[in-house]
């Protein structure tokens, strides 16, 4: 049973990856690298972990997700569409004039987007405000916040960590998409990040390190986060930037550019295992 569930989620994550590549190709711009790296995280959250109902995207009781690394909107939009919040047809309008699917997520335009994001470093503070509201109202909803590993160079993230810890937000789960690359290169070369897990631990989090492209390990980590009482959890998800498309993997130049036609065809064939149904 469990194996079947994992296989089903892997298949969904692959569908999401296909749509990420299609969206960025159609838009002739966007951020494929970090979107592909966090596809498994979003899949596990929206298809296995979160208490949500696509028919009631504004329910007060729902779990919330803040995609603090908002440039990875293709991953979030593809996940929400696959989960049934809106039609997958809409994905074709990504980044086009007057589209609901803006370059970075807009909570007032897209059902299922719990918070507008784009300017890095702000999402964890926002997630804290949500988690505090949940506690005050005794609603019991959980709040998830996905941070990029480059993003945690922003000082506000650590201001927010102190807040999560001060208020014992055990209904909060931070996920660091730790793909080790940012626009200018290796995260440890661009800025002295040092040990991410130890940083979160010293800020009062329970830190769990997993293979962030492994569905089973992710499920296990989220389950452990739910059982953690009294402190917030940070999952350090070791991922591969560009995961699933050979020439994009571990290559910082695919942070924010679209594939050309030839590259597109290759990417889709790798993800689908065939050349059919390309455009």
């Amino acid at each position: 049973m469990k194996i079947k569930k994992v296989e089903a989620l892997q298949k969904i994550a692959n569908d999401i990856r296909i749509n990420i590549v299609k969206m960025v190709y159609n838009a002739k711009s966007g951020h494929p690298g970090g979107s592909l790296s966090c596809a498994d995280i979003l899949t596990v959250l929206y298809f296995s972990q979160m208490n949500i109902n696509p028919q009631e995207p504004n329910s007060m009781e729902r779990d919330r997700l803040v995609l603090s690394k908002g440039h990875c909107s293709p991953a979030l939009y593809s996940t929400l569409a696959r989960r049934g919040y809106f039609s997958e047809e809409d994905l074709k309008l990504f980044r086009k004039l007057n589209s609901n699917l803006q370059g970075h997520p807009d909570m007032n335009k897209v059902p299922g987007v719990d918070m507008t994001s784009g300017s890095l470093g702000q999402g964890l503070s926002i997630a804290n405000g949500m988690a505090l509201s949940s506690k005050m109202d005794k609603k019991g909803y959980r709040v998830y916040c996905i941070l990029g590993d480059g993003e945690i160079e922003e000082g506000q993230v650590w201001e927010a960590c102190m807040t999560s810890s001060k208020y014992n937000l055990d209904n909060l789960c931070v996920i660091v998409d730790n793909n080790n690359l940012q626009i200018d290169g290796d995260i440890h070369t661009v800025k002295g990040l040092n040990k991410i897990e130890e940083k979160f631990e010293s800020f009062g989090f329970k830190a769990i390190t997993v293979d962030g492209n492994n569905i089973e390990q992710l499920i296990d980590a989220f389950d452990r986060a739910k059982m953690t009482k009294g402190v917030p959890t940070a999952i350090i998800a070791k991922t591969i930037k560009g995961k699933g498309v050979s020439f994009m993997e571990n290559n910082a130049s695919w942070h924010g550019k679209a594939p050309n036609e030839e590259e597109y065809i290759q990417a889709i064939s790798e993800l689908t295992g065939s050349n059919a149904n390309l455009l």
Partner: protein, 308 residues
């Protein structure tokens, strides 16, 4: 105007916040380690579970307030103006105004009337920065009665708001039952020799000037522009048509503040010469608040001089 009863608008803010807290349990208050100065400590004492001291982390405070607002809370976030509009500008822009979240930013210690702390703490650009943001409403009350009225009114709206409050105690201008309206200005007197458009701490100064000028046979009206955005175009145009001279006075840079706002309205609708009193493209400095108002030509003396 009662010169003997002076109160700082930050104090009025703290007092009304406590009242509102009793009436609406969705109100939460955030501060960044300045609650004794911003007067949110009055609310904190009464409602410790709805008060969040975010520490010296203004960016975190503004974005946390945004998170509260997404869940139906009515957050009031306070710190000094320079650390609100300035330090946390990007959080206000991208996480509050762009998603149009119901966050009330009540910033104290605006302008040179902060006094002795000097330039780093004297915010002179906040009206300019805040009014340029889509969805944001900007208020700059002049006395105790008006501050309480405005804070109560904005707690009922669903829009991001910026309220500019002062450290300096100023006279009570209005009767307790005076009514105001968001988006309107308050005309005081109907003299036709000049209109003095003033905001915040400069309204009391303008009224003092009005009185002194009357003794010299010069009759001016004062317009208290407490609502900077939306702005009362109708009153501005009416006064420009009815009076010989237009003067603006503000404890803020003349670039982008009240003076600019008045000029924008008039240049489009009824081109008129405007004399702007305010801080003229310079930083503030240490000194006593009253001395500084004279030094920077935003006191009653500076206004009266324009008629010599």
């Amino acid at each position: 105007m009662d010169d003997n009863k002076k109160i700082a608008t930050r104090q009025s803010y703290g007092e009304i916040l406590k009242e509102l807290g009793k009436e609406n349990e969705n109100i939460v208050v955030l501060d960044a380690d300045l609650s004794t100065a911003t007067k949110t400590n009055i609310f904190a004492k009464e409602f410790p579970n709805r008060f969040f001291d975010m520490g010296i982390a203004e960016q975190d405070m503004m974005a946390t307030a945004a998170g509260f607002a997404t869940c139906g809370k009515i957050p009031f976030a306070s710190t000094f103006a320079v650390f609100s509009a300035g330090r946390a500008y990007d959080q206000i822009r991208n996480s509050i105004c762009y998603p149009n979240l119901n966050v009330k930013i009540c910033a104290t210690h605006a302008g040179v009337t902060v006094g002795e702390d000097g330039a780093t703490h004297q915010m002179l650009e906040d009206i300019s920065m805040m009014r340029t943001l889509p969805n944001m409403q900007v208020y700059s009350p002049s006395d105790d009665v008006q501050t309480k009225f405005i804070i109560r009114e904005i707690s009922k709206t669903k829009s991001p708001c910026y309220v500019r409050l002062s450290r300096l105690a100023t006279p009570i201008i209005y009767d307790d039952n005076e009514q105001f309206e968001l988006g309107k200005a308050k005309q005081i007197g109907d003299g036709c020799d000049a209109t003095i458009f003033a905001t915040g701490v400069c309204v009391a100064e303008s009224l003092k000037a009005k009185e002194n000028l009357e003794k010299r046979g010069i009759f001016v009206r004062v317009v208290d522009v407490y609502s900077i955005k939306p702005i009362d175009k109708e009153t501005i145009m009416k006064c420009a048509k009815e009076t010989k001279k237009i003067i603006t006075v503000e404890d803020h840079s003349i670039i982008g503040g009240l003076g600019s706002s008045i000029c924008e309205v008039l240049s489009e609708e009824y081109p008129t010469k405007v004399i702007r009193l305010g801080i003229n493209d310079t930083f503030g400095k240490s000194g006593n608040a009253t001395e500084l108002m004279d030094y920077f030509n935003i006191s009653s003396k500076a206004i009266e001089k324009l008629f010599e």
